[in-house]
């Protein structure tokens, strides 16, 4: 039904071994597929220093998923992440609406820039300024 795009990011305890992390990521991907979603993009960002300590840890392993789905898989995924103690933090952000808005705005801006440049041309003025503003 509803097709939505989400960004799910989670931070894994840095003490977790590398193969455990890959296993976890695979499990997440499988879970999403099983619940009827699809993984658009998976990005293992890797270790990063945290801006502030979480559970007395100063580093974390970041993983980002981009998911297409109905929202049902997010429910299940979040439930699992909550109980998983390897994951020290997670967040889901719905991005499709904001992206749509961004596209709209981009189109609007382009249109305006175009109009400006054509206006300038008819006035026989240089069109470079319009380009610089865009």
């Amino acid at each position: 039904m509803a097709n939505r795009t989400y960004e799910v990011m989670y931070i894994i305890d840095p003490e977790t071994s590398a193969d455990k992390i890959t296993k976890l990521n695979e499990a997440v991907g499988k879970l999403i597929e099983k619940e009827g979603g699809s993984v658009v993009r998976m990005d293992d960002v890797g270790r990063r220093t945290l801006a502030y300590p979480i559970d007395k840890k100063t580093e974390g392993h970041y993983v980002l998923f981009e998911i297409n789905g109905s929202g049902q898989e997010i429910l299940e995924l979040e439930r699992r992440m909550r109980v998983n103690d390897m994951i020290i933090r997670y967040m889901t952000v719905r991005v499709d609406e904001d992206r749509k808005k961004a596209d709209k705005m981009r189109a609007k801006r382009e249109k305006r820039a175009e109009r400006r440049s054509t206006f300038r041309k008819t006035e026989d003025a240089p069109a470079e300024t319009a380009e610089a503003e865009a």
């Binding site: 960004e7 990011m9 931070i11 990063r48 945290l50 801006a51 502030y52 979480i54 974390g60 970041y62 980002l64 933090r89 967040m91 952000v93 904001d98 992206r99 808005k101 961004a102 596209d103 705005m105 981009r106 801006r109 503003e133």
Partner: protein
Amino acid sequence: MAEKENEMPMEAVLGGGSEEEFGDKMPRRYQRRRPRQVVPEYVDWKDVEYLRQFIPERGKIMPRRISGISAKDQRRIATAIKRARAMAMLPFVSDN
């Protein structure tokens, strides 16, 4: 009195993040409007480097009167910063 106290951090802010031309003469309190700034159509909360531009040393979100961006853009920037904070990509407070 309160306004006077505000003088210092604002100058620090203006001196820090901006690449816009300010001249060497600083207005008495703060620049009323910075030149209009183009904020991208999609503000990515993961783009920490971009968001840092709106965070003075203390870690607070830069007020609109200083950054000079539109109210709409300010809201988008603010939510992005808050999201990044939740994921420990940006500090809630920083001491330096």
